[in-house]
């Protein structure tokens, strides 16, 4: 028991309010022990502070209960496979370590995730309703007939969301079974690059690195993969393999470079990756204006079409865009899970992410881990680049990465940086993207609403107390201050 372990925050080692509770619990355990040794020789006259709580040590503490809830929810949701990391370690409620990024990401529970999505959808719906003409019309006689107004709001929001659903999962008006499930195929297609890039971001998160650079990594991978695809002419099989390798190397190089600079010079990876995104983009734009990349006879910056031997085969025939890349994404998710939870490399990554100093003292080469994890993260994002040029687009343009690189960040955050969580989040955001197109056509609701909902989801997931407060689910341990202001918080969040 030291004074250090008291809820007292030496700079550089702030721990959250939850941590304090644990610190406190720790004292208990200590006292307990001290007592055992001290009891016999102790002068009997003194009243014992801790006699009444002598067994507190074994009683479940509130924090433990909560942790247990996290475990069951997470496994019930199927979001997490069995992990070498105990669930307690993933719940992020652990004191002692610095308040790391990783810890924040894991904070929260399955319920909060669901509620966060719900809350974001509600706010998005309100935004839709706000700009709806019918709603505006009924608002003018709101006091006279409020039901008109409310039903208009409901209609505006649900109309858009129904269109969104029909555009992403199941369209009853589609022609035949094939047509009805066409939206789902489209969702999976769009989810493919989101999943792999999201895994890249998530993996880096777990190693304590903030990889904002998936965008740039996708671009560089796309450049190399596309060039391999249209400039070389190779036999079937070999060609695609080479395209894949080229993309992976491109992404790994661009990511690894950031890792290298960070490890060697201490430059912050957030700044580096942001800058590298732009450098990659301008490099791509430059290349598309060179004879090596520009399609002959074309004045727009667009590359030749990739050879048929260089593209992913379509899984369910030519009527859907869904390609082999999706199956690859599933395999990659399994791989990343294994890498993180069952391999020595992943052990190193996680140790470096959670406490780099302890990792270093334990003989782990932190610089090497930093470079390696960024290279692997880049390679994963690179797979998204390949999925774009060899799967969906089949050409290279300066929009090759679309916004997948940035969406990948939100995907990883929503998936709490676990491989299967990221996979699920990728599917969800893929559905949003696919459905938004249909929604815009059917209801005129702009695609941008997806950005709003997506970012709100991530904001809410990162702040579980807010979500709990909004839904009135406050556990005993809530700080009253938090509950008091969270309503304003929600509105502010929505209004911005």
């Amino acid at each position: 028991m030291t004074d250090q372990t008291q809820p007292h925050h030496p700079d550089g080692n702030p721990s959250g309010p939850d941590a304090d509770k644990h610190e406190a619990d720790k004292h208990d355990t200590d006292k307990h022990h001290t007592d055992k040794h001290a009891a016999d020789k102790h002068d009997a006259g003194r009243p014992h502070t801790d006699k009444p709580h002598a067994d507190r040590h074994h009683a479940p503490k509130p924090a433990d209960e909560e942790t247990a809830a996290v475990v069951s929810l997470d496994t019930a949701g199927g979001a997490m496979g069995p992990s070498a990391v105990p669930a307690t370690a993933q719940s992020g409620k652990i004191p002692g370590g610095p308040e790391t990024l990783v810890r924040r990401i894991f904070t929260g529970s399955g319920t909060v995730s669901v509620l966060a999505v719900l809350l974001a959808l509600i706010l998005g719906g309100l935004l839709i309703a706000l700009t709806d003409k019918q709603v505006g019309a009924t608002a003018s006689y709101l006091l006279a007939r409020p039901t008109d107004f409310l039903s208009a709001v409901w209609n505006a929001a649900t109309r858009s969301y129904v269109a969104l659903f029909q555009g992403s999962v199941f369209n009853p008006r589609g022609g035949g079974i094939g047509g009805q499930f066409a939206p789902l195929m489209e969702t999976l297609t769009i989810a493919t690059p989101l999943i792999t890039a999201g895994l890249g971001v998530a993996l880096a998160f777990r190693a304590g690195l903030f990889n904002i650079g998936a965008q740039g990594q996708i671009i560089i991978a796309g450049i190399l993969a596309a060039w391999t695809g249209f400039a070389l002419h190779l036999p079937v099989g070999l060609h695609l393999l080479l395209v894949l390798v080229a993309g992976i190397i491109g992404g790994a190089f661009w990511g690894g470079l950031v890792g290298y600079l960070k490890a060697r010079t201490g430059a912050h990876e957030v700044i580096l990756t942001i800058m590298f995104n732009y450098i990659a983009l301008y490099l791509l734009r430059y290349l598309l204006n060179t004879p090596a990349f520009r399609r002959p006879g074309e004045s727009n910056p667009i590359s030749p079409i990739l050879d048929p031997s260089a593209v992913y085969p379509q899984i369910f025939g030519s009527q859907y865009r869904l390609h082999l890349g999706f199956l690859l994404a599933i395999a990659i998710t399994v791989f990343v899970w294994w890498l993180l939870n069952r391999s020595t490399v992943g052990f190193e990554f996680r140790a470096v992410g959670a406490n780099p100093k302890a990792a270093q003292t334990a003989g782990i080469n932190v610089s090497r881990s930093t470079i390696l994890v960024m290279a692997i993260a880049g390679a994963l994002a690179g797979l998204s680049g390949v999925a774009q040029v060899a799967g969906t687009e089949k050409v290279l343009t300066d929009g090759v990465a679309a916004t997948y690189g940035f969406d990948a960040i939100t995907v990883a955050l929503l998936g709490r940086s676990t491989p299967w969580g990221t996979f699920a989040a990728g599917l969800l955001f893929g559905a949003f993207r696919a459905g938004a197109v249909q929604m815009q056509i059917q209801t005129g609701t702009p695609i941008d609403i997806v950005l709003v909902v997506q970012s709100l989801i991530v904001l809410f997931i990162a702040a579980p107390p807010l979500v709990r407060a909004v839904f009135g689910l406050n556990p005993r341990r809530k700080k009253p201050v938090t509950a008091g202001k969270s309503k304003t918080a929600a509105t502010t969040g929505g209004a911005a």
Binding site: A267, V270, I279, Q454, A463, A496
Partner: protein, 442 residues
């Protein structure tokens, strides 16, 4: 107090009065002098000698210094391309050699040296670019004036970053603040038919974005980088959505803000080169100069600034001295947002007179770069932003005069320079110690 990015003493943020800075140099003189600066300067010197000198253009580069409106005319500056390149790059090599010599005596290069080097390098580069163009003539006055104009939103953005980071909150949301400001300025100015009200509204919008950042990062302890990144997406989504649904539906009512007038101060604005920069600006332009000076004085000369910096460096110490850490953070971040919001209004009230999606075009990130390059100092950030504005402006000019340098590389320049800066020159430079770390009271 300037772009001391190349200063040979890493690990010391700028602060306080010049005499103290001197002492600081003394105090750190025992720290080993690295090879970084001499080596980098030598490498750049050699690059300059080969490209700008030996491979320099044969034409004479002509730089116009006055415009027709000036009240007296300066003759144009004419520099023979090849000779100019050689002379300048030889001087650069001399400076690099001096730095190497100092290093062998275990002394750090003086502060002016890297700055002088940068100036020479840019000059040589300009001669090289212009001398190699189809029409080897540009108006230097116009180039500089244009650079300042393009730098306006960058300066406001980086000031926002300075205020936030100095108080301990990382602000990745500058882009969102600029965009929010631009949108709101356009919308409100259109609805009220008054661009000045639009300007005010822009400040409010920026502040609101900042408040969300502050709320989530200070109260809910969400990682500040996450909030920043997500806020950028959120603002982009909301403005994009409202642009499509509201503005496009009724452009006349919602997206015709009108422009802020250019305030031309008579006579003074006629001074060649300096006149247009200092005395022929929109209100936003003048506000920029004021903001830089006010923020600098505020941070380093006032009670408020002392407290702000203490909160950003050692929040617990500030707390024990009775300073309310989280409140200080909240209001400073909000203030920063308001400043960035004003910067955003530049896009829709000064540059052009309407809003389009993503009008800020990633300049928030360049502002972030300027802030780092300027070492968390308002004046440093100002000059860094000017440099980036210059690169931006040069990019469009080289396209017009037809130089062999691809414009994409010019566009890439700010980002490359920033990578160099964070990795090489200011790699170990020290942001405020508590930046990015939430403060939880015991």
């Amino acid at each position: 107090m300037s772009t001391t990015a190349t200063s040979p003493q890493p690990g010391k943020p700028q602060a306080g009065t010049p005499p103290r800075a001197e002492e600081r140099q003394q105090a750190t003189s025992e720290k080993p002098v690295t090879w970084k600066v001499p080596v980098l300067l030598s490498a750049l010197g050699i690059v300059a000698f080969i490209f700008f000198g030996l491979m320099g253009p044969n034409q004479t580069a002509r730089f116009g210094l006055s415009s027709s409106g000036d009240f007296f005319q300066l003759p144009a500056l004419e520099v023979p391309g090849f000779l100019g390149g050689i002379v300048l790059s030889v001087i650069m090599l001399g400076l690099a050699g001096y730095a190497v010599y100092l290093k062998t005596k275990d002394q750090a290069a003086p502060r002016w040296l890297p700055i002088a080097f940068i100036v020479l390098f840019v000059a040589a580069f300009l001669i090289w670019v212009v001398g190699g163009a189809r029409t080897p003539s540009i108006s230097l006055a116009g180039l500089i004036a244009g650079s300042v104009t393009l730098a306006v939103p960058l300066v406001f953005g980086s000031l926002s970053g300075v205020l936030c980071e100095r108080v301990g909150v990382v602000n990745i949301a500058i882009e969102g603040q600029l965009l929010g400001g631009a949108f709101t300025a356009a919308m409100v100015a259109s609805m009220t038919r008054n661009p000045f009200i639009g300007l005010l509204a822009a400040a409010v919008a920026g502040a609101v974005v900042s408040m969300v950042l502050a709320l989530f990062s200070i109260k809910y302890l969400v990682n500040q980088i996450i909030v920043g990144v997500v806020l950028n997406v959120l603002v982009s989504g909301v403005t994009g959505f409202l642009f499509s649904t509201v503005m496009q539906a009724d452009k006349a009512t919602f997206n015709s803000p009108g422009r802020l007038p250019i305030i031309d101060i008579p006579v003074l604005s006629g001074i060649p080169v300096l006149g247009p920069i200092l005395f022929k600006q929109s209100l936003v332009g003048y506000l920029m100069y004021i903001a830089v000076i006010v923020v600098w004085i505020g941070l380093f000369k006032t009670k408020w600034g002392l407290r702000v910096r203490a909160v950003g460096e050692h929040p617990q110490a500030a707390d024990t001295m009775g300073i309310r850490v989280n409140a200080t953070r909240f209001w400073n971040v909000t203030l920063g947002g308001a400043i960035a919001g004003i910067g955003g209004s530049f896009f829709t009230l000064v540059a052009i007179d309407s809003f389009t999606k993503e009008i800020s075009g990633g300049r928030g990130f360049i502002a972030l770069a300027a802030l780092i390059f300027g070492r968390w100092n308002p004046i440093g950030a100002f000059f860094a932003a000017l440099l980036f504005g210059f690169a931006d402006n040069l990019q469009s000019i080289v396209t017009i005069i037809g130089t062999p340098v691809p414009s994409q590389f010019m566009a890439m320049l700010p980002y490359l320079v920033t990578v160099l800066a964070v990795a090489g020159l200011v790699g170990r430079s020290r942001p405020p110690a508590a930046s990015g770390i939430p403060y939880v009271k015991g």
